[in-house]
Amino acid sequence: MGFLDINNVTKSYGSVEVLHKVNIAVEEGEFLVLVGPSGCGKSTLLNMIAGLEDITSGEIRIKDARMNGVHPSNRNIAMVFQSYALYPNMTVGQNITFGLEMHGVPKAEREKAMADVAKLLQIEQLLDRKPGQLSGGQRQRVAMGRALVRNPDVFLFDEPLSNLDAKLRVDMRTEIKKLHQNLGTTIVYVTHDQIEAMTLSTRIAVMNGGYVQQLGTPKEIYDTPSNLFVATFMGSPSMNLIRTTIRIEGVAVYAVTQNDRGEEVRLALCAPLDAIKSYDGKDVILGIRPEALTDVEGADHRSSHIESIRNTVTVTEPAGSDTFVATTIGGAECVARMRADAEVLPGQQAEFAFNMEKAVVFDPESENRIL
């Protein structure tokens, strides 16, 4: 039992089920990010936690109290909306204290709470302005202030950064993270941006098609994605997926594919034999992140297992800190992340080093991870 429990929660509109038996237990002080493409059900789930949409079946508990059917204002939650949802006719100060006013908190107390929050968020000089006079970042702060002032059990964030420009988004991301570290509040945060999910969360739930695909720490999600969807959704550029055939020779396990000259190449997998034995001779999908596919000099020297392939460079994309290099392996376009000064030119041959410790293997039928 956690601080916020989502037990077998299902949501249907008419006969269409959009969320299927979701189970998540959030501990106190955790920062849970719900991430997925649009339409995956993440916002619906958040709205159900908030009480803005009813729960078709299952239950949601906060501090062990059942929340089904409880009015949003009685759940002791606060929400920051994508559009910030600041009341346009009220000043910043009135926006922040509106919830307290509705809950019958005396004026003096409201003023005090407002002053504290304004100080925390450094928006004291904005209190008498109307939302229309604020910049995007300021509105964002006010929206957070309105949530903070209630001192809720759970904070809900619905894509709060998606309306900001790129630079401000990064700054606000850091601020939200700081706020979480300083206040130790419990947060459920919805986003479609996998970088936000990785940087902010203590745990991530990757959602797709109304299912939670994987629930885990950012590292678990990134390094050991449980299926092809999670593997491709998380990380940018996304994980390279190469169709290979498993070949077992003695105790050695190889993933066999072709380079772009049609020659067979064998990549030794560092896998316990038992786990893969049944796949001998079968096709699997080898997944390797771009940073685990580099130039030889750039390869991780601590890795016990580097394999290299000589192959033709198709495109190079210098990105300043790194150079992304594209090549074709096993018929699939692969992107390698090389050092900025790696000397590679399109059309020329280059050595591509695979850090096989980081490689993962998926079953092409079920799309689930085998290794």
């Binding site: 059917g69 409880v70 009015h71």
Partner: protein, 305 residues
């Protein structure tokens, strides 16, 4: 919002208040609009002549006679005239309003200096009552004191313009006044449509070498289809409802030369004590309007979703 069974009091209350608040309006509309429509349909199947439906002794004053009223209605030359007039009136009214509205809109869209001054002058008739409009045009077109008299006083002794008193032409004077009243509104609808067209498309077409004429004919006017549709629907429904204007201008005359279904219904119901027939003519009017409005409203509502 939440399943009622387990919702707390506040949630349940919040679920009921909206429906409660909506219900008076809904009841009003259901009774006074749809209930009344059914009632009128019922009356159209009876031989009712006047109100009330029940006499002092509690006896009803009518019998059900099925479709007899409709049969009678379509045999009445009076009704036939009203329908013919309607066809002439509606056809001309819609076409002329659309033409004037579109022309004015296109001309106004040429970066006209003083557009803000001109537009209100085209539109103000919409703010007037048809009775006022009718009064003004009635006397202006009156041969005794109006146009004919004026032109004769200017020296053209032989000038004649007696359309409003002429059985063959009176209906056109009603068209004139109706066009005067609503063409500015149609202009506004087309202007809004023109302003909604993406300028980049026009620029692209000009790069392709389209002349102004072709630009309008091939690019702009085809894109105004929604505005044409709205204008048609609004004008058609206004035409069918036209009543006050005729009453004020000609009273349906001379003779029956400007009688329309709306005035027909009114006179049969309230002055000729033929309520059953009046009701059946109202039903015909409703069916005509419904045939135009319902598909339009349906499409509009579906689009909005």
């Amino acid at each position: 919002m939440s399943t009622a069974a387990e919702a707390d009091f506040k949630t349940r209350l919040q679920n009921w208040i909206p429906k409660l608040v909506l219900s008076p309006s809904l009841a009003m509309v259901l009774i006074f609009v749809y209930g009344f429509i059914l009632f009128t349909v019922y009356v159209s199947f009876t031989d009712s002549r006047i109100l009330p439906f029940v006499d002092k002794d509690g006896q009803r004053t009518f019998d059900l006679i099925g479709l007899a009223n409709y049969e009678k209605l379509f045999k009445l030359s009076h009704w036939e005239i009203a329908l013919t007039n309607m066809a002439v009136f509606a056809g001309l009214y819609i076409v002329v309003c659309t033409l004037i509205g579109l022309t004015l809109a296109i001309l106004l869209d040429q970066k006209i200096r003083g557009e803000g001054f001109l537009r209100p002058l085209y539109l103000y008739p919409m703010a007037l009552s048809f009775i006022v409009t009718g009064t003004a045009w009635k006397w202006f077109l009156d041969p005794g004191i109006g146009l004919e008299n004026i032109v004769q006083a200017w020296g053209w002794e032989n000038f004649e313009f007696d359309w409003i008193k002429n059985r063959d032409f009176a209906i056109y004077t009603v068209v004139l006044a109706a066009v005067w009243q609503t063409s500015g509104f149609v202009m506004a609808m087309f202007l809004a449509g023109l302003r909604g067209i993406d300028n980049e498309i026009l620029k692209a077409a000009q790069m392709d070498g389209a002349s102004n004429w072709n630009l309008y004919r091939r690019i702009i006017i085809p894109q105004l289809r929604p505005a044409f549709l709205s204008a048609f629907v609004i004008l058609a429904h206004l035409a069918i409802k036209t009543f006050d204007l005729v009453i004020a201008m000609t009273g349906g005359g001379p003779g029956r030369a400007t009688e329309l279904p709306a005035t027909f219904m009114y006179s049969y119901t309230f002055s000729r004590n033929q309520m059953g027939i009046g009701a059946s003519s109202a039903v015909i009017m409703l069916i005509t309007i419904a045939a135009i409005m319902i598909p339009y409203l349906y499409a509009e509502l579906k689009e909005k979703k």
